[in-house]
């Protein structure tokens, strides 16, 4: 046990010209606040973790592109003071692919939701993972279509009530991380919003990773899904994440199951594979003798 295993790095306020402490307001379009998310929505917690990771990685806001799809998660991009793109339902990864290919100098982050990414956009996810373009995909999984009023999603747990499963959901759901990994994503991780610092670090690892990184955020829809299923108040829902999660500090420990799917949290897979754009460019130059 040494200090380096401590994942948390908050910087002190600048005294000697060093970097400023993370102030989320520096990264927000303040005119738009308060944001439109419901009280207790986990997406806000996740967005904070993301911006914190961006801050600690010293990513210039001008060089940051956030591409989102449709749904509650899709609206998050608008709140960030960066180059932001709120695209069509399910397609942010495809937009991001074009953007990244056109502008490899930009840091391209996709914010998507479980419906956006796994249902209507499922095809784009698997091919983004296969292609391994240097994009970080943050998928907020709250098990429900919140924006449209709470319909069943590809990750809704069994027996949960939604507006389209009035008798309880009987469809099996996706393990999004296993899907991404199977499709070839070179970085896959999952974290809960409760473990904000671990989530921030996971996102940071994903952002640093050269290639396609997929981070699933276990987020809570408290107002719609929580109420419909009697999952308790916002704090109770956030706290309930703790019951089955053992945060990993060393990056290797096997974690405990979370939710019905027995899912693990932490970095689930990390591997080296040529990044798409650089490999494409290098190959073309080689063939053309440039």
């Amino acid at each position: 046990m040494v200090e380096s295993a401590m994942p948390l790095k908050i910087r002190q306020k600048s005294v000697d010209g060093a970097r400023d402490e993370f102030e989320i307001r520096d990264y927000l379009r303040l005119d738009l606040f308060p944001h439109f998310l419901c009280p207790g929505c986990g997406h806000g917690i996740a967005l904070r973790a993301l911006l914190w990771a961006i801050h600690d990685l010293d990513i210039e806001k001008d060089q940051l592109a956030i591409v989102s799809g449709i749904g509650c998660s899709g609206r998050l991009s608008a709140y960030v003071d960066a180059n932001t793109f709120h695209t069509t339902h399910g397609r942010p990864l495809a937009f991001a692919a074009g953007l990244k290919l056109a502008r490899p100098d930009l840091h391209v982050i996709v914010i998507t939701g479980d419906g956006d990414c796994l249902a209507i956009g499922g095809n784009h996810l698997i091919h983004a993972a296969r292609r391994n373009l240097d994009i970080t995909c943050i998928m907020m999984n709250n098990e429900v279509y919140g924006m449209t009023g709470g319909q069943v999603s590809p990750t809704t747990s069994l027996d949960r009530f939604t507006t389209t499963t009035p008798m309880g959901n009987q469809e099996p759901g996706f393990d999004a991380c296993a899907l991404a990994k199977g499709a070839g994503a070179t970085f896959v991780g999952r974290e809960v919003t409760l473990q904000t610092t671990a989530l921030k670090n996971l996102m940071q690892e994903g952002l640093v990773h050269k290639g396609f990184s997929f981070v699933e955020v276990i987020s809570d829809c408290t107002e719609i899904y929580g109420r419909k299923n009697d999952l308790g108040s916002s704090p109770e829902m956030v706290l309930s994440q703790k019951r089955s999660v053992l945060p990993r500090f060393d990056g290797t420990a096997v974690d405990k199951p979370f939710r019905a799917g027995n899912w693990e949290t932490g970095i689930l897979s990390r591997q080296e594979r040529p990044e798409y754009y650089s490999a494409y460019r290098a190959h073309c130059h080689k063939v053309l003798g440039k």
Binding site: N83, T88, F95, G98, A102, N123
Partner: protein, 385 residues
Amino acid sequence: MSPVPGNSPQLQSLQGNQACALGAIAAGCRLFAGYPITPSSEIAERMSKELPRVDGVFVQMEDEIASMAACLGGSLGGVKSMTATSGPGFSLKQENIGYGIQAEIPCVVINVMRGGPSTGMPTRPAQGDVMQARWGTHGDHPIIVLTPSSVQEIYQQTIQAFNFSETYRIPVIVLYDEAIGHLVDTVELPDPKDIETTDRKWATGPAEDYLPYAPDKDGIPPMPRPGDGYRTHTTGLTHLETGFPTQVPDDVTRVTSRLLDKIENHRDEIEQYELLSCGDADILIVAFGITARASERAVNMARDKGIKAGLLRPVTLWPFPEKALQELAGHAKHVLVPEMNAGQLILEIERLCAGSVPVSGINRFDGETIKPNEVLAKIEELNNG
């Protein structure tokens, strides 16, 4: 394809789809995202070969929707981008074409028309996407659709499409049929230095004062380039000049009207058409694409027989050259609209003529082109009529 020996190096034997790819490169296209579909695949194939040579990027996406999205994404990044498809793929792209219109993203979409509906006749020519090109995406929107009728013109109109899209910040559709797309013809490519290309109007000035959707006097807002410090928001939601969504009726009316007007107010610069023997024409033919070529011959044959026939060939199918039609139709005794569909363009012609002159059509949707003789026969019938 290699140059034809013995001729000037610019004279080439070129397939329509290949000409499209070369035109795109000449126009400055540096990103192509596509998905294979007959009969447009040669465009993607040629782009995959040409783009690496000019440090561009070719990517074959996972589906038609992704191709359209990646094309828009590339353009948002500041790179001229294109995609190409045919009917079924065009249908799939429509939502994102709408996004491109709403968010005012320049890009070029090639649609090589084949028989439909649905899978229809993948290898047979048709002109059934006239209305899909105009109204394929939902909501009230402007559009620019160009319809080349020769291999040479595919090259030129692809360049023109890029220029229009960059000037007016709108997806521009190049619509031609399989017969032209697969035709190999002798074309004369211009010297690269003679090709006029338009570049986007980029945002300049201080970022604090910048409103991404505040138009200049011409109705078109300059576009922000990521990394230039503007950090704007792009959305498919109806948005204010700030780029952020609105649902306030007055605001929605203002911004959507501006969107519509930016094309409507520039009709004069956008509308293109070609006239053949129209000066004294009793019988005015309106046709585009391969059908215009058949009509051209039919008009020549009719003139040989002393029949006063003329041809109006819209190059911009949308916006349709309304004034030109109305003026010519005012002098004509009959308007004839041959098209390889069950009657689409004729609806617009009838609307524009508004009962002032009888309008009839020649329609084929059997996968065959309309032949000059068929047009001539109809001209003779109307003339005798």
